[in-house]
Amino acid sequence: MLIKKLNLINFGKFSNFTAEFAEGLNIIVGKNGSGKTTIVEALAYISFQRSFRHVKDEDLLRFGEKEFSITANISNLTEHEIKIIYRKENDKSVKRVYVDNKRQKLITKLHKEIIVLAFHNYNYSIIEQSPASRRYFFDWFFSLIDEEYYINLHRYKKILIQKNKSLKTSKDIKLWNSQLKPYASYINDIRKKYINELNSIIPDEVKIKYTSTLENKTFEDFEEIELKRGFSIVGPHRDMFDFYYRGKNARLYASDGERRKAFFELVNGMVKLVEKTKNVKPVLAFDELFGVLDKDNIKKFIKKMTELDLQVVITAHSKDYVEEFMNIIEIS
């Protein structure tokens, strides 16, 4: 898959911005605050229809504006124009997606056409971040390749809000656990499935370990303690994802270099998993990646990316690392 052109209106810092992308490596060069991250955000938005950094839609609006649009010309088997419009009206908001000027009834159906794997600053250190941020990361990725996972996760979270409120008021814990159960077991199964697939793709020295808080246990086992504490302590929203490097927990025992290596193996695994499950080549987008890599590693990374034979978009402060074969997009 290829993104050929991107137009942003009232999105982030742009009032009206257009960029054209080429096959292979694209590099967006601009100073701090010039809107590099906004472009990566927009590329990710086309595929996820919400922010990949958990920014609220209304906070993506250009200051003082009420409506933004993202239009992308993509080329898959054929050419398509995808347009997403978000409008804020008083306390309501509307989001509409059009493919070739036809309104899409189900927004999630778009997932079949276009997958953008976008990474930002925070993701590069995902291995040493908090368990919650690793959970966010994998939930984002699994939602991107599996709309059903997203729907189940969404329902799970909505029921969880009711349960947590109930733990503080009416204490109907059995009722809400009964409602959570089918979604929790679905989420557990899918996480296990995809983590297994990722592990089978990436080299043996890097392993991802998924630990469910409901392994060999049930919600009932925790009812007493949850009632006492007044909030829920068990379920997919408390599960753990950990990285292992050569058999040891990478968060504690791996060097910076090893962690970075593990991260890029993960990216590679994600690309392969997208190709396998969606039968489409994803677009990769990296925001401010060169900040975390030294010169040597940047060279290695660029070589690796060209080998993947994908469309890749990278943002950078300066033209230092620009090479002849790259398509340069300069913004000011």
């Binding site: 009834k105 189900l106 709309e147 059903e148 729907i151 329902r155 909505k158 029921i159 809000i161 009711q162 349960k163 409120k165 109930s166 503080k168 008021t169 009416s170 109907d172 009722l175 809400w176 009964s178 409602q179």
Partner: protein
């Protein structure tokens, strides 16, 4: 220029009604003030509504102690559990159901502060025994709160050993399979039924 206080209050009250925003409330308020006949009709209608009460059996709105449906001896010994009198009216209008109703008056939602004790659920079991009910049909919204409330009711009455059913979920009439979301489609396949020939 400032509007008189009473007029502003009318707008505020109208805005509390579902589907009425600022503009509609203002427009309606002007019409009420301008048109004396509508004002009188409203006053009469509102006074009559004040006399309405909830049926002592099924909790729907009624002019008498026991509503029309509950007093009808021809009704089958089935109870359909619905959220509101409005839902009951909706189903009654269809003319396909000839049983009784039980209006619970809302759905369990801790977020909105609605607990089981705020709903008319407790007297359902008594009704099942007293009125010799053979089946209870749960007809609540297919939302998180609707599902949870249905489950709560099921747990409360399952030991009566009567037939407990719920209304079918699946593809709406006239809808295309392609556009149906996966969860609905899955339910429709699992809950498939014998082919209907008429």
């Amino acid at each position: 220029m400032k509007f008189p206080k009473g007029f502003l209050r009318l707008i505020e009250v109208l805005k509390k009604l579902p589907g009425i925003g600022e503009k509609t409330a203002e427009k309606s308020a002007f019409v009420i003030v301008k048109n004396g006949r509508i004002l009188d009709e409203l006053i009469t209608a509102l006074n009559e509504i004040k006399k309405l009460k909830l049926c002592s059996k099924c909790n729907t709105i009624s002019e008498r102690e026991v509503c029309e449906v509950c007093s009808d001896l021809q009704r089958e010994k089935i109870i359909m559990v619905v959220e509101s009198p409005y839902d009951m009216y909706h189903i009654e209008k269809l003319g396909v159901y000839n049983g009784k109703y039980h209006v619970i008056g809302g759905l369990i939602s801790p977020l909105e502060g609605i607990e089981p004790k705020d709903l008319f659920i407790d007297n359902l079991k008594n009704r099942i025994l007293e009125e010799d009910i053979k089946e209870v049909i749960i007809a609540l919204s297919s939302s998180i709160e609707g599902d949870a409330t249905g489950y709560y009711i099921y747990e409360k009455i399952k030991d009566t050993n009567i037939n407990i059913t719920q209304i079918a979920r699946g593809i709406p009439t006239g809808y295309e399979i392609t556009y149906t979301d996966n969860i609905t489609l899955q339910k429709a396949i699992i809950l498939r039924q014998p082919f209907i020939t008429n």
